[in-house]
């Protein structure tokens, strides 16, 4: 997100350091030599100064060091520069009675036409630059070529034509042609060679397929879901890398036998449980019957007694 954290653009060399030309070493030695004559400042001409960025003259002090002020002054004939100690002291300190009144000059407020002139000049420069860029003023580059026609197009031979060749002006309002793409670096080295036959793919045999079969990953330590894992799977997992020392087919037989035994046992238990349930139900029925009999017996005895009591009472009431 922060471009400030990115590295600088790799191939952008904006800073053009001041170069002293090809005879740099020569000049350096001359700089080091203390001038014999007792002149205040010595001038050394840089013969190789051709571009704007090279210095044309060097001013040396009496002791052979570079006199910065004079060198820069000679170079900076077209622009101003600050080089003295005075320039580092604020104007308000140098002139304590300075009144702070520096109104801005704009087109509306400027009394003379200096601002107008400046704006117009700039506009002209900009226009020129734009027209240069868009190829507007390339009228001189128009070329004319004489072409003699041949038989190829079915025309008569030797017919002369004049062709005008010129650059068409580019429409500045067209949408941009470039496309923003990222990572447009090509592979720096040639691609690595492919060391296998990619022409025909032969059919795999069953053994090869079996070789490619990857057994299920079974852990002897982790089984969070709690699945029952057959012994052969466990064996396979634990000895996947080594050769199988245990006969896997026998192991699978054993596991199947164990499975069968377990099934048998479960069935037996089931049957036993059912039998037990039936027995319990029978016992309960018997118990109930016994209770019923007992209840009837007692009821009958009670009835008899009541009847006797009743007769007794009747007898007593007569008296």
């Amino acid at each position: 997100m922060f471009s400030s954290l990115l590295s600088r653009p790799k191939h952008s060399d904006y800073f053009q350091p001041i170069k002293l030309g090809s005879k740099k070493s020569n000049i350096n030695t001359r700089v080091l030599v203390v001038p014999e004559k007792e002149s205040q400042v010595q001038v050394v001409h840089n013969d190789n100064s051709n571009s704007h960025s090279t210095l044309s003259k060097f001013y040396l002090n009496k002791d052979g060091t570079l006199n910065y002020n004079m060198t820069i002054a000679a170079q900076a004939s077209d622009h101003r520069f600050h080089s003295s100690y005075e320039d580092t002291i604020p104007l308000k300190k140098r002139f304590p009675n300075l009144k702070h009144s520096f109104p801005k000059q704009t087109l509306a407020t400027c009394p003379d036409d200096s601002v107008q002139k400046c704006v117009e000049e700039t506009e002209l420069v900009i226009k020129q630059l734009i027209s240069q860029q868009s190829g507007e003023d390339n009228k001189e580059s128009t070329q004319y070529a004489n072409v003699t026609s041949s038989d190829v197009l079915g025309e008569e031979r030797g017919r002369e034509r004049q062709i005008q060749i010129k650059n068409y002006q580019e429409d500045p309002m067209l949408p941009p042609k470039h496309k923003l793409r990222k990572n447009r670096h090509t592979e720096p080295s040639p691609p690595a060679p492919i060391l296998k036959n990619t022409t025909g793919s032969e059919k795999l045999t069953k053994e090869e397929q079996a070789k490619w079969k990857i057994p299920a990953a079974v852990s002897n330590w982790k089984n969070s879901q709690g699945f029952t894992i057959s012994l052969d799977k466990r064996m396979q997992a634990s000895t996947s890398n080594e050769t199988h020392s245990v006969n896997l087919s026998k192991l699978s037989e054993l596991t199947s036998a164990l499975d069968d035994a377990e099934k048998q046992a479960r069935e037996d238990i089931k049957i036993r449980n059912e039998l037990r349930k039936e027995m319990m139900a029978q016992q309960e029925k018997e118990k109930e019957l016994k209770l019923k009999e007992l209840a009837e017996l007692t009821r009958n005895q009670n009835n008899k007694r009541r009847h006797y009591d009743y007769n007794d009472a009747n007898k007593r009431s007569r008296y």
Partner: protein
């Protein structure tokens, strides 16, 4: 109302010889309407009237009298009288962006809205009065670091860390197809700052690739590339008088450019640390630059003389500065959330306080700031994802 005030002020400042400003009183009296009454009730009026000589006769009297020569060319000393200011936090737009608020500009024409750009790659337009979000402009894919609103066109220019400069048509900000109308392609690094030429249709952009690029707004052509800085360009000032372009850089230099020759006119190397912010006074031909060791220097152009050095109390990184032209205050916002207000003329420290980070963040650095046109409100964008609006408390 406020743009009227600015133009009004411009008309009021007429330069005569020896740089003395003398304005007749009648020139300052606007035609009677609601705007003028609003201006008269505004307490900032005394600023505009500060250079008026009370002894001067009115224009009608001048016309009748045969001698138009003013008798006395004395200026009343207009230095700021108050010794302290008391700017207080009025409103917080918490969570204005989902990232840092990195750029901010107040509408230079109507003073009714301001625009903020954040690291969430969006630009938001806010109402200055009720701080409601008016529009969300998308289109960038990285942090929006620079915003400029044109005075001539309804255009908003934005520069981003994704190396793109885009031009948005604000009249279509709510359209379905988006309001992006142009983009200016060519920068090799993120764009940190932008400026518009006041007269010509030129856009200046500068940023991480150490160059200032000049664009023709309409045809999107890169007119020129100004090279010379040895580090990222942090801020730009464009004006119609020479130097038409001033750029400050992280290499600690300020360059004044002659864009007709495409060369540096003057390089100011007074700063010892990288300059992160440079601000121009809207009414004066002065500008201020603040470096990352807390030094603020005031400069005078066109000659580029060092005018003043401001004495700030602590040596913190200055992220942003703003000038209040109505009462000549300079706001400096620091990276540790501190801010200081100086008197622009004398360089005295008027106020030093700290922002209150919104809940959820321990410290908040001030990234961008701007006074509105009336000078009554200060808007700051901070790293706690909030936009804060400040106002001066009057005793």
């Amino acid at each position: 109302m406020s743009i009227a005030a600015v133009q009004f002020g411009k008309n009021a400042l007429v330069k005569l010889e020896n740089s003395v400003v003398i304005v007749s009183r009648e020139q300052l009296v606007p035609p009677p309407d609601t705007l003028s009454t609003a201006l008269y009730t505004n307490n900032k009026l005394d600023y505009m009237l500060r250079n008026v000589d009370e002894n001067l006769p009115l224009q009608s009297e001048l016309d009748s009298s045969p001698s138009p020569e003013p008798q006395s060319q004395t200026i009343t000393n207009n230095s700021h009288s108050t010794t302290t200011t008391n700017w207080k936090l009025l409103r917080v737009i918490a969570g204005a962006h989902t990232g840092w608020v990195r750029s901010l500009t107040v509408d230079p024409v109507t003073n009714q809205w301001f625009v903020t750009g954040g690291t969430d790659a969006t630009i938001k337009v806010w109402d200055l009065a009720n701080s409601s979000c008016k529009a969300i402009i998308t289109g960038h894919i990285m942090a929006v670091r620079a915003l400029v609103v044109s005075k001539k066109f309804p255009y908003l220019f934005s520069g981003s860390e994704d190396k793109e400069v885009k031009c948005f048509d604000l009249e279509r900000s709510n359209s379905v197809s988006g309001c992006e109308i142009r983009n200016y392609h060519g920068h090799l690094g993120g764009i940190y700052t932008m400026a518009l030429h006041p007269q010509l249709d030129l856009l200046f952009t500068g940023g991480r690739d150490q160059t200032v690029r000049v664009w023709d707004i309409r045809s999107r052509a890169e007119v020129m590339t100004l090279t010379g800085h040895k580090s990222d360009i942090s801020s730009l000032i464009a004006s119609e008088v020479d130097p038409q372009l001033i750029s400050s850089s992280m290499d600690g230099t300020i360059r004044l450019w002659d864009i007709r020759k495409q060369t540096t006119e003057l390089t100011l190397t007074h700063h010892s640390k990288s300059i992160r912010s440079m601000v121009e006074h809207p009414a004066e031909s002065t500008f201020c630059s603040g470096d990352s060791s807390g030094n603020i220097k005031q400069w005078l152009f066109p000659q580029g003389e060092l005018l003043n050095e401001f004495n700030s109390t602590d040596k913190n990184i200055i992220n942003t500065m703003a000038v209040n032209h109505t009462n000549n205050n300079l706001f400096a916002g620091y990276d540790n959330g501190q801010f200081e207000i100086f008197d622009y003329v004398s360089g005295e420290l008027l106020q030093s306080s700290k922002t209150i980070p919104s809940p959820g963040s321990t410290e908040s650095s001030i990234f961008c700031s701007s006074f509105d046109l009336s000078g009554l409100r200060l808007v700051t964008g901070e790293s706690d994802h909030s936009v804060k609006i400040w106002g001066e408390e009057t005793q």
